[in-house]
């Protein structure tokens, strides 16, 4: 009886339907990673460990009330900025970009921390200002957004900086950023594109865009990824080749097949029917997430949850768009499916926050 009550207490801040949907997606992930890794048991153990750790973290975070969480936001943001500064000054150069910070015992990638710290900071900012929100506060928020994005873009890490920009933008959007500003910013960005193309983008980034437009120009280099993943998706057909039967996957034609390109594996083996199932599953998670976000009592909770769910959508969309050849190859994993501990942890921590924000009803008035 006590145990039962204890269990109930442990899980009380989780949302049942959401947990069910996430579990379904994680089961799919286990099956696909198993196939993509070529039944590599080491990789499976590590994948299952990642999932376990991330679920534990999600459970833990779900117990933290939003107002407590809010207190973490400014320090987390400041530490994040300092670490990014550290990366810019002392970072380790890997493959031409400076993303990692050597701490002696381990290496960390501070941009990963920013994935949550930034929307938290922005949500905190709007929550703090909710009584006295001025138009120029959006400008301050924009500055808060721009600082880490600039650091990350400089590393350079185009994918992460775009994703972090997106997550910050979602907070601003949900906080009521005026349409005029958005249209104006979009127009400005559009006109700045040629300048960015020539002066801001690195060669490899330009190459990625160019090979997206015509992958066949570089079939053995940068185009190879897109060509092979498109072949994998297309050859899956309606019903797919069957689990563990994907020829592109198992004969080593697909690059990065258990991480960024795992969707090609799934698509090849489960076909259009599988894709439909996966899209519906994502849609359901997003639907439930937005529902939970809307039911959060505090503004901080609502903004942060909404941004987390919309970022989750963005990851899924960009990844599948990239693998199926309609978006450029940016290093974005398929959330909750790709192999990789950091992504798994970040995404599930996010969902922990979403559930916590929705389930902690008693809010202390500030």
């Amino acid at each position: 009886m006590i145990i039962l009550r204890w269990i109930k207490h442990v899980f009380c801040y989780l949302d049942g339907p959401m947990l069910g949907l996430i579990s379904l997606l994680l089961l799919t992930s286990i099956a696909v990673v198993f196939s993509a890794s070529g039944e590599n048991s080491d990789r499976m153990v590590s994948h299952l460990t990642n999932i376990g750790v991330a679920l534990g973290a999600m459970l833990l975070v779900s117990h933290i009330p939003p107002q407590r969480m809010m207190q973490f936001a400014p320090p987390a943001y400041v530490i994040g900025i300092l670490l990014l500064l550290g990366v810019a000054l002392f970072g380790v150069l890997v493959n031409g970009s400076r993303r990692w910070l050597e701490l002696g015992f381990t290496r960390i990638q501070p941009s990963e921390l920013m994935r949550l710290a930034l929307p938290m900071m922005l949500a905190w900012f709007f929550h703090y200002k909710q009584e006295t929100l001025r138009s120029r506060d959006f400008a301050y928020a924009g500055l808060l957004l721009a600082i880490p994005v600039a650091f990350i873009a400089k590393q350079p890490d185009l994918g992460t900086s775009l994703m972090i920009t997106a997550s910050g933008f979602y907070v601003l959007f949900l906080a009521g950023l005026s349409w005029k500003v958005m249209v104006g910013a979009a127009a400005a960005a559009g006109s700045a594109l040629p300048i960015a193309w020539h002066y801001l983008l690195h060669d490899y980034q330009r190459q990625r865009v160019l090979t997206l437009i015509d992958p066949s120009t570089d079939p053995l280099g940068a185009g190879y990824h897109i060509i092979q993943s498109t072949i994998a998706v297309g050859s899956g057909g309606v019903a797919g080749k069957g689990w563990m039967m994907g020829t592109q996957t198992h004969l080593d034609f697909l690059p990065e097949r258990s991480t960024d390109f795992i969707f090609a594996v799934f698509s090849e083996e489960f076909g259009l029917i599988g894709n439909l199932f996966l899209l519906l599953l994502y849609a359901a998670i997003i639907w439930r997430g937005l529902y939970l976000a809307a039911s959060a009592p505090s503004l901080f909770g609502r903004l942060l949850s909404g941004a987390i769910v919309l970022t989750f959508f963005t990851y899924a969309f960009v990844n599948m768009g990239m693998v199926s050849g309609i978006l450029p190859v940016v290093g974005v994993p398929l959330p909750l499916v790709s192999y990789g501990g950091t992504s798994m942890l970040t995404v599930l921590l996010g969902f922990g926050i979403v559930m916590s924000a929705a389930t902690h009803k008693k809010l202390v008035k500030t």
């Binding site: 929100l133 979602y170 297309g234 259009l272 849609a283 976000a293 903004l303 909404g306 969309f317 050849g325």
Partner: protein, 660 residues
């Protein structure tokens, strides 16, 4: 400006924005789904094909080349398996270093290195290229132990072609060599290129070239699944290769070896035919060369040596050596005289040692200075009287002579199943006009009568003409191939003898000529020494072909002429004269007189063929390392009992097909 917002209003705006975001997300997901529909339904066929292309590789399985046997199933050309060391450049570390290290384990010559470099330049990076062929067992074992040190180096079992009997057979059997650019083009034109995937050798000379289409076989295909690195993961299906046909020749290896041996140090050619079917029993061109040198690419110095040698070993004298037939033409001329009614058996002339055209003082000399006195047709052959034929030719005229001779194959290719044969020359006034834009001189007819002047013939043509005589006018196409076996059906097919000419000849005339030729071999005849003591009736005719012209009034003195300027000795024969089983034409370069040098060679060959008698210098045939497929032997034929293989219905069809 301070925005005072009522929380409820604020919440409603938040809801609205969330809904907008949700709708945008939904729209984007629908867009994504339509992309999937496009890729997985509309473009499925294309991507399916691309994936299959990625996955499936067709590997050729080269067939094993047909074996060539002589008439007694002695192997003349066969394959054996041996280990080679091959390097795949894309997988190997630094090539030069790898080869240097390999050379510490197995011996690698500079020739091996050169060949490797050459093939490397021609090949693709992922193809394996042999660095060393035919490893000894010891070397193979040494490499096996050290294999881990050499990534990208593999030991493979390859089939090699070998010609166990070597030099004497080079011109007949020929050899195979690496497929060159020209071969490649020809294969492309013939549409045979696909069948040569995985094969890197092709017949270049002799039977290997002529019967390439039968010897090669059909290349099999192995459908394998490969990974992105091109490694075969598993075999999906396999069409096994079909081995090439085994060829069985009329040629008798022992006879060929004997014939080659009895030439001694002389250069020359010998053709032995079976007059009953045209089968080529021996075809010698001396000196020969070792065909094995060519199989894996001959090195330049050796090739130069062969090509530049004064002895011209690479030329098949039997088919490509054209010589004035000299006196060997006399039996045919005599027969022409009889058949055309110009001479009668009893007619005789008085030979004073020369012939002059009416109204001319120019003397056409007999080889005997003072002449032979009274000479009739028979005696003119036996003693080889020139004067008789000067007059006969003049009376006959060049046109009639050429017409008659052409039926015996002069000036015409024999159509033997070997490539590159020359057609010799039987001149006519039209030919001279065409060739030199000059009219024909009567004197040119006179010298043509003793087989000099413009008349040229190959040893093969002399043999064919002799066969026509021996056969009473029936001429068979000379044929090396006697039979072939398709290994897929194991059915033996026989090449039918083909008659190319039936010359209508008066039997009385023929009898006279044959008697005269028999008398050539008897005391009083020009080849009496070579003919002495034969238990069979031996018919022959000697000949001498001038190498350099002799000035008017000068005489040919053998001892004063340099060896290479000495006359070519010629001899044609058939035996037994009453029932011919073997026809021989011999040409000995710079041999001097036909009777003393060429005729004894024919005698020894005939002795072996009819009596089984081995010449003193003969060493026995070594069959070589090949196992002789005893099952193929129908019967161990005695040399003189030639199986007349006639199965016309089955055999002619493929032959005709080839000849088109």
């Amino acid at each position: 400006m301070l925005r005072l917002i009522n929380p409820k209003q604020e919440f409603l705006r938040y809801r609205r924005r969330l809904e907008i975001a949700g709708i945008v997300a939904a729209v984007l997901f629908v867009a994504l789904f339509s992309r999937f529909v496009w890729l997985q339904i509309a473009q499925f066929e294309r991507y399916h094909a691309l994936a299959e292309n990625n996955r499936i590789a067709l590997l050729p399985a080269p067939p094993s080349r047909g074996v060539i046997y002589d008439r007694h199933n002695i192997v003349l050309a066969h394959n054996f398996s041996a280990s080679t060391l091959e390097i795949t450049p894309s997988k190997a570390a630094k090539l030069d270093k790898t080869i240097d290290q390999l050379s510490e384990i197995v011996s690698i010559s500079t020739g091996d290195r050169k060949r490797f470099k050459k093939m490397l330049a021609e090949s693709k990076n992922f193809e394996s290229i042999p660095i060393r062929n035919m490893l000894s067992e010891e070397e193979a074992a040494r490499f096996a132990v050290n294999r881990y040190r050499f990534p990208g180096v593999e030991m493979k079992a390859r089939q090699f072609r070998q010609y166990p009997l070597g030099d004497p057979f080079a011109h007949v059997v020929g050899y195979i060599g690496r497929i060159g650019d020209k071969d490649q083009e020809r294969l492309q034109e013939d549409g045979r290129i696909a069948n040569y995937k995985g094969t890197d050798h092709i017949g270049k000379l002799g039977l290997e070239a002529r019967y390439e289409h039968w010897l090669h076989g059909r290349t099999g295909i192995e459908k394998v699944e490969t990974d992105s690195g091109g490694r075969a993961v598993r075999t999906l299906s396999r069409t096994p290769p079909v081995a090439g046909y085994n060829l069985y020749l009329h040629l008798d290896a022992k006879l060929q070896q004997i014939a080659e041996k009895v030439f001694g140090d002389y250069r020359g050619a010998l053709v032995a035919l079976d007059p009953r079917n045209g089968g080529v029993l021996a075809l010698v061109s001396k000196p020969g060369f070792d065909p094995n040198l060519f199989v894996d690419g001959i090195d330049v110095p050796t090739w130069r040596e062969l090509n530049d040698s004064l002895d011209r070993p690479l030329i098949n004298r039997a088919l490509r050596g054209v010589y004035p037939p000299g006196s060997t033409i006399k039996p045919f001329m005599g027969l022409a005289g009889l058949e055309l009614g110009i001479r009668k058996a009893g007619d005789s002339i008085v030979d004073q040692g020369y012939f002059s055209l009416p109204g001319s003082s120019h003397r056409y000399r007999d080889w005997k200075k003072d002449g032979h006195g009274n000479v009739d047709l028979k005696r003119s052959i036996v003693i080889s009287c020139d004067t008789y034929y000067y007059g006969l030719a003049h009376q006959m005229g060049i046109e009639r002579m050429a017409e008659f001779m052409s039926h015996f194959g002069f000036g015409r290719k024999s159509d033997i199943d070997l490539d590159g044969e020359l057609s010799g020359l039987m001149p006519t006034p039209e030919w001279k006009k065409r060739r030199f834009k000059q009219s024909w001189w009567p004197g040119e007819t006179v010298v043509a009568g003793i087989g000099q002047g413009y008349v040229l013939a190959t040893p093969m043509q002399l043999a064919v003409a002799t066969m026509a005589l021996a056969n009473d006018g029936v001429v068979y196409k000379p044929q090396l191939l006697r039979a072939w076996r398709d290994p897929s059906t194991d059915k033996m097919s026989y090449a039918a003898p083909r008659i190319t000419e039936r010359i209508k000849l008066n039997p009385e005339h023929l009898r006279l000529i044959k008697e005269a030729m028999t008398d050539v071999m008897l005391p009083g005849g020009t080849a009496s020494i070579a003919g002495a003591g034969t238990p069979y009736a031996f018919a022959g005719k000697t000949g001498t072909a001038q190498v350099i012209g002799i000035k008017q009034g000068a005489r040919y003195i053998e001892s004063q002429v340099q060896m290479r300027h000495r006359d070519h000795a010629l001899f044609i024969s058939f035996a037994p004269a009453d029932d011919p089983k073997i026809v021989i034409a011999v040409m000995v370069e710079n041999g001097g007189h036909g009777g003393s040098i060429a005729a004894p060679i024919a005698r020894k060959v005939t002795d072996y063929w009819l009596l089984g008698k081995l010449p003193a210098i003969y060493e026995p045939v070594e069959p070589g390392p090949a196992e002789i497929d005893a099952g193929d032997a129908e019967t161990d034929l005695a040399p003189s009992e030639i199986s007349l293989s006639s199965n016309p219905g089955a055999a002619t069809a493929p032959l005709q097909e080839r000849e088109q």
